[in-house]
Symmetry: C2
């Protein structure tokens, strides 16, 4: 093993050798930002997704949806992505090459990325002119910076008429599905809609392997709440969980030191604005810990106003410390307010409000507009019916205000004057009210989580690699070996293999090479248990189980083995409890 | 219930009411060809995927990969899709509207789609001129037809430089991953690579709800075999399975009547060319039957040469009879030969061959080219080294042939003449040979399978809907009800709900309305078992279980209930065996 390699290089090698992941399109030289997941990678991803769904959907009583990757343009007009999901770039006036403006300035001027991120196009260009920055490739003049959208654009239908984009987040699908799920929930809040699926981001120059991808998987959840009822009923379950948080005011002063606060303290001190936000942050911490990343390698940083997504009013990134890249975001926790539902309501005209009865009815003053039929008949004759319809279509308050201010209102082809209607103030009793729900969103980037799980599982022992995944996410659970390939051992081992497969375990068959070589392979694959069928098995129907991490062995009867394995993989018994020490 | 509605309309209504699926982007008026899957739809899809993976991957010892949706253009140049994944269209010269040419001609002239599918652009246009076909919208002249690609086009990177396409099939990802998986398999064939993932097809006018989608999920498997060793070792397991096949020669004569042949007969009579193709067809039939579609509602039709995909040498579509659309393809079974790997080898220059030792070595005559150093030094001087390298880079046979025909060969900037080399014929012993593997592919369209499962599960009983999914694919397994919401029954029921959740069951909690109304809901959702906690539960820790299909009830102790449920959902015991009749 080359000690000069960093963990990333070691994992990339292992990932190719054992089939976790590799660069996509590699026979064509690769395209950065795209990965292939191999057989073990697919299983590992699936385990982590299943665990996430179990934690964030099933145990919470939430639901999942699946919505399209390609969306018509109107969705991203409404969501604000067309306007905000973009990056600044320079084009060299001489060679025509283009560069991401913020990165160029950070690198060439050694400025802090937090500082540069705040800058507008003018400030970026001023710096270029002030400092005499040139094209890093040819030394030519840089043109004025401009924004490009980082969504993949395409056309829906073959006629290049309807613009569509690859979704950069799954969230919009949940907002569009909101009313349907509200019906399924019989109109009652709070509820959450989750989605696990692919998203597409047309990054300008992704160079960080699995960390910055153009196509990746998101695990996202939108919780819809009444903004007047923001308490999280389950907060007590996580109250004492300690979060390591770098608050915005600390970061704004250049600080990086996290506060260690319990969930309760973070809320009481106003570091986290909402109970639900803190609740999901605590669950996120527990979830990532479950994947093998200890809490001291996790932190939350509060996003500064200019770093936050356009829809967010408070946001935290959950970060994991990785050897090559330092602190890397694996999940984002945002309070999206009513931004998205309001925007979709405005753009579609479809009601996104929820009704709730008031505790006690209230009296509300309202404006009422009553038509004066004689005047209408006199002035509009046969068209009176149409004018009446138009009058009804306008909000009474708006009509009254316009008549008072301008002395008339244009409705379609007609001019309505004060004598045509009678405006009255009335007082009515209201028993309920309508509101647009607010949204709290935890959102995980799966491939970064997968890579983190690989990095934290990576250990070396006696000069070779052991992938010590927690048993709950090990891509393969049991390797089955016949000790030798004769005397009926393969047949017996095969029957054990099939039996475990039938019981729903992820099982690996290997009858090639010595048992020692097979252990080397299964340790690299991160298989927690290796089951060997030997001569004694034929006599007394017992097998040996060998532990990946301690390399210890126990002997256990085949009778009822599936039940013992099931509770072992649920973490309810230890390896030693699986049998008698050998 | 409106009896004039067909099953499709009934299912669409139910799908919205219970959250299986609905039209995507509906608040913006919808975009045809895109669906949202709701909470139950996601669970149903997941069950069917899990079952498919269990049948077609795990039990076969095959592996899964996950590769990108967006691929650079070169992939589809190599795969032939750029050239062949297209449809003919007319544009009206007057109003500018465009129409799919084959559909227009089928509809207007009442021609058979099989006939029209065979036609080239010229034949289509001749028909327009002969029959005086006009624009169906404005009556204007139709222009000459042209082809448009039905892949979604985009650009990778923000500079609109590198063209990419949404993949129309997952297969290419498996071909690109072939060498990696071959290494994992230590160079040994046969093996298969499977993938479940989204694909994108820019259909011109999709109008059939879940049947023709622009974005859908494919479950695809590529089996790589040695073309000299095409036997399927597991064929005996399915030999007696009866397949209903409409062979190509019957279809070519306009026939539709299927032959009923066992797998063995279909092979012996040459109806199916390859054992592996027949094997997967048999498994496909069993798989679809497992989802609730009886065998008489299934058939296989052989694709006629002009209907086959460009890569296929023999192909069958598995079809299911649906009430509204007749016979609909749910899976395709193609013998892709070495087409794809060969094309990628040609386009990338990367070796896609597999080595195999010969049973006994053979003697092979080969051409050998030896440099004549004096002549080379004389003519090329210091550049001789470079010329030598170039000579070595060319296949000896090619070099010899060119020298013999033209009297010289241009290599880079150099002209090599006969005097520069000595061409010799030699005889060598070969112990092995290299070949490009051949591919057999079963490929399932998941959303059509899901819709078929819904249609065949749909039953009406006493004027209401019961979704009688087979227990193995029921999206939710158990509904848990407290009989009343007082006297500690909800608390007890909730503990049962949590316990079943912990054990990995898909469980539904419902405490709203009478038990009767709750049964109505859970029957519509297709939940096989409803578990009710009543007053007796508090006394003796037993509960009632109610069967969705028979509406019968049994009483069963809570002790060990998870084990009984587990074997019930594996189909090993019947409902009656779950407890004592009530």
């Amino acid at each position: 093993m080359d000690v000069r390699e960093d963990k990333y290089e070691k994992i990339v090698k292992l990932a190719k050798r054992r089939g976790f992941f590799w660069e996509a399109f590699e026979i064509y030289g690769g395209v950065s930002g795209f990965l292939d997941f191999g057989p073990l990678g697919v299983l590992l991803k699936r385990r982590i997704i299943d665990l996430w769904v179990d934690w964030f959907v099933k145990r919470e009583g939430f639901v999942e949806v699946e919505t399209p990757l390609i969306n018509p343009e109107v969705v991203f007009e409404a969501s604000g992505h067309l306007e905000s999901f973009r990056e600044p770039a320079f084009k060299c006036l001489k060679c025509g090459r283009r560069f991401r403006a913020d990165h160029l300035i950070e690198e060439k001027l050694g400025l802090d990325s937090v500082e540069v991120e705040k800058m507008g196009l003018k400030e970026l260009y001023d710096l270029v002119l002030d400092k005499g920055l040139k094209c890093p490739e040819c030394g030519g003049e840089l043109g004025e910076p401009y924004y490009f959208t980082t969504m993949f654009k395409t056309f829906i239908g073959p006629y290049a008429e309807d613009v569509g984009y690859g979704r950069p987040e799954a969230a919009q699908g949940m907002f569009l599905a909101f009313r349907r799920v509200l019906d399924l929930k019989r109109g009652k809040l709070p509820f959450a809609i989750a989605q696990v699926g692919k998203v597409l981001r047309n990054e300008i120059s992704p160079r960080q392997g699995p960390i910055r991808l153009r196509e990746f998987t998101i695990m996202e959840l939108e919780l819809f709440i009444d903004p007047e009822d923001v308490e999280c009923p389950k907060i007590s379950e996580v109250e004492d969980e300690v979060l390591r948080i770098v608050p915005g005011d600390v970061r704004a002063k250049g600080g990086e030191e996290p506060l260690e606060l319990t969930v309760r303290e973070s809320l009481d001190r106003g570091v986290v604005d909402m109970e639900w936000l803190a609740y999901f942050m605590a669950r996120a911490k527990q979830f990532i810990r479950e994947l093998g990343v200890p809490e001291e390698s996790q932190r939350f940083i509060e996003k500064l106003p200019w770093e936050r997504a356009h829809y967010s009013s408070q946001g935290f990134d959950q970060e994991i410390l990785l050897e090559r890249w330092g602190w890397v975001e694996v999940s984002g926790h945002n309070y999206r307010t009513d931004y998205d539902l309001r925007r979709h309501m405005e753009h579609s005209g479809v009601d996104m409000t929820v009704y709730k009865p008031l505790e006690k009815p209230i009296m509300v003053e309202k404006t009422q507009v009553k038509p004066v039929y004689e005047a209408l008949r006199r002035d509009f004759g046969d068209e009176m019916g149409e004018v009446l319809k138009l009058i009804k279509s306008v909000k009474p308050e708006v009509l009254a205000e316009n008549l008072a201010e301008k002395g008339f209102v244009r409705l379609g082809d007609f001019t309505v004057k004060p004598e045509h209607v009678r405006v009255e103030k009335i007082t009515v009793e209201e028993k309920g009210k309508r509101f647009i729900p607010h949204v709290v969103e935890p959102s995980f980037g799966l491939e970064r989580v997968v890579y983190s799980a690989l990095e934290y599982a990576y250990t070396e022992r006696e000069g070779r690699v052991v992938m010590s995944f927690p048993v709950s996410i090990a891509p393969i659970q049991v390797a089955v070996y016949p000790l030798v390939t004769k005397d009926g051992l393969p047949e017996k081992a095969w029957s054990v293999y099939r039996r475990l497969l039938d019981e729903g375990f992820e099982v690996y068959w290997d009858d090639s090479g010595s048992i020692g070589r097979r252990y080397v392979r299964s340790d690299e694959m991160g298989i927690p248990l290796a089951l060997t069928v030997d001569y004694q098995t034929l006599k007394d129907d017992t097998v040996t189980l060998r532990d990946r991490d301690s390399w210890r062995q126990v002997r256990t009867p085949l009778a009822g083995i599936e039940d013992r394995l099931r509770i072992f993989f649920k973490g309810r018994i230890s390896f030693e409890e699986l049998g008698e020490p050998v």
